[in-house]
């Protein structure tokens, strides 16, 4: 199908974009990479009066900023751009690893990091990654800027804290301290599909291999990225040995309450979550062991 009628706007300055959003509010949508919005427009699942294309905005919105303490990904950074950057792979291997599971190169060439976050599909990879990385979401409107944590940004299926007149300007994460490892594990029916379930984990290990902190987040099993706090508590203070991995499996299964759909039953998704958490933490253990052999 073809999109319904809308007025297309291509502001050159952020202020202009924010003024348009303020004026048109919930009759408008922001177009970044368009890889989720355009299908919805083509199928008329979304019908809007105004389309505000931010792709012509200047102001460095298309380049990640790698600072001493933090990494910031502004609104127009394409997924493929991050995937191809060796600097980003060194700084945020969790993100690089997860991007390989985001659809296909043809989609990632246009799709943006922030666009995927603002779309907030519960089975998408990037919301869980940013939750695991404890990202800060910088939101702008004509009235000012505010910052939210992932837990306050993702509200429900395809629903975020973004008001109609707001835009997700950038997302910022702290650089991971030395001794912090990360892993992303996903299972999808076909490569490039949305995950049946996925797990993003970061884990800080001391020289003896004892976990001093971790964040474990599941995708595809709840309306928003779900932190597996029971797993996190179980891991903290322990070595990632096989006995712990077995306990983790049980804890993860007990902690999620997924729904059944045409792709997988709730029981299957629950078991899958346990398996993926185990795989992610086993991956972390392997990375830590490799780092200490060197």
């Amino acid at each position: 199908m073809k999109p319904g009628r809308f007025a297309y706007h291509a502001p050159r300055e952020l202020d202009e974009a924010l003024a348009l959003l303020k004026e048109h509010g919930d009759e408008a949508k922001v177009l970044a990479g368009g890889q989720s919005l355009m299908p919805m427009l083509n199928f008329r699942l979304a019908q809007i009066e105004h389309l505000i294309d931010i792709n012509r905005l200047g102001g460095g919105l298309d380049e990640p900023r790698l600072e001493a303490e933090t990494i910031t990904i502004p609104a127009l950074v394409r997924q493929r751009q991050v995937e191809r950057s060796s600097e980003m792979a060194r700084a945020l291997p969790l993100l690089t690893s997860a991007l390989k599971d985001v659809a296909h190169p043809q989609i990632r060439n246009r799709g943006t990091i922030c666009g995927s976050l603002a779309h907030a599909d519960p089975a998408a990879e990037l919301p869980s990654v940013m939750t695991a990385l404890d990202a800060k979401f910088t939101i702008a409107s004509a009235d000012g800027v505010r910052t939210l944590d992932a837990a306050d940004f993702f509200l429900f299926h395809l629903t975020t804290a973004l008001e109609p007149e707001e835009i997700l300007l950038e997302v910022t994460v702290d650089r991971l301290p030395d001794g912090t490892y990360s892993a992303f594990q996903e299972f999808a029916t076909r490569h490039g599909d949305f995950a049946l379930a996925a797990v993003a984990a970061t884990c800080e290990l001391d020289d003896a291999g004892v976990a001093t902190g971790c964040r474990v987040v599941a995708a595809g099993v709840a309306p928003t990225p779900q932190r597996l706090t029971a797993v996190e508590e179980l891991v903290t203070g322990r070595r990632l040995d096989d006995a712990l991995l077995a306990e983790i499996d049980a804890a993860a299964r007990g902690e999620v309450d997924p729904t059944s759909d045409i792709h997988a039953s709730a029981t299957y998704r629950r078991r899958l979550t346990g398996v993926l958490v185990k795989r992610a933490l086993a991956d972390v253990r392997t990375q830590q062991e490799a780092a200490h052999v060197r």
Partner: protein, 164 residues
């Protein structure tokens, strides 16, 4: 630029030729190529970015032309399947498709050719796993993909031979 009742004037380079056109707000790049420029080699299957039949190159990157608006292509360089043949002859990738029965009905073929063209420019495709990864963003309902995999590997080998 906005709220333009008379459409948007764009200048876009398609297969090496500059085209100046006026386009409606909601015209997709795919429909612009097919209906305005009559480049009907680009096909439309699902129109929501899943099947890959409409894949074209925009500034060198393979993208879904059904998920881009024509107005967004202002200033861009676009390559379509019509640009692949060299002097009226099939290029090496197209010949590899032909030799290996990488198509049957042909509906998906232009999308596959453009995806593989972009991938081959970026890096060699030496093994089946990589070939399948490159092909995974397009859907073919006839071939079962075996011929496509062979064609991609052969096209890469041929490229190396001519590069020597």
């Amino acid at each position: 630029m906005s709220d333009n009742q008379d459409g948007h004037r764009i200048s876009v380079t398609v297969n090496g030729a500059v085209r100046e056109e006026v386009v409606d707000d909601r015209l997709t790049l795919a429909d612009f190529l097919r209906e305005r420029l009559r480049l009907t080699g680009t096909h439309l299957g699902c129109e929501h970015g899943v099947c890959g039949a409409c894949t074209v190159l925009v500034d060198g990157d393979a993208v879904r032309s059904c998920l881009m608006l024509a107005v967004q292509s202002d200033g861009a360089q676009i390559e379509t399947v019509e640009n692949l043949a060299e002097g009226g002859e099939l290029n090496s990738l197209q010949r590899a498709f032909q030799r290996n029965h990488a198509l049957q009905c042909g509906f998906c073929t232009s999308g596959f050719l453009m995806s593989v063209t972009a991938a081959l420019r970026e890096a060699p495709i030496r093994d089946e796993e990589r070939a399948r990864e490159v092909l995974s963003g397009n859907i073919c309902r006839c071939t079962g993909y075996t011929g496509l995999v062979k064609a991609v590997l052969e096209a890469d080998a041929e490229r190396k031979d001519t590069a020597r």
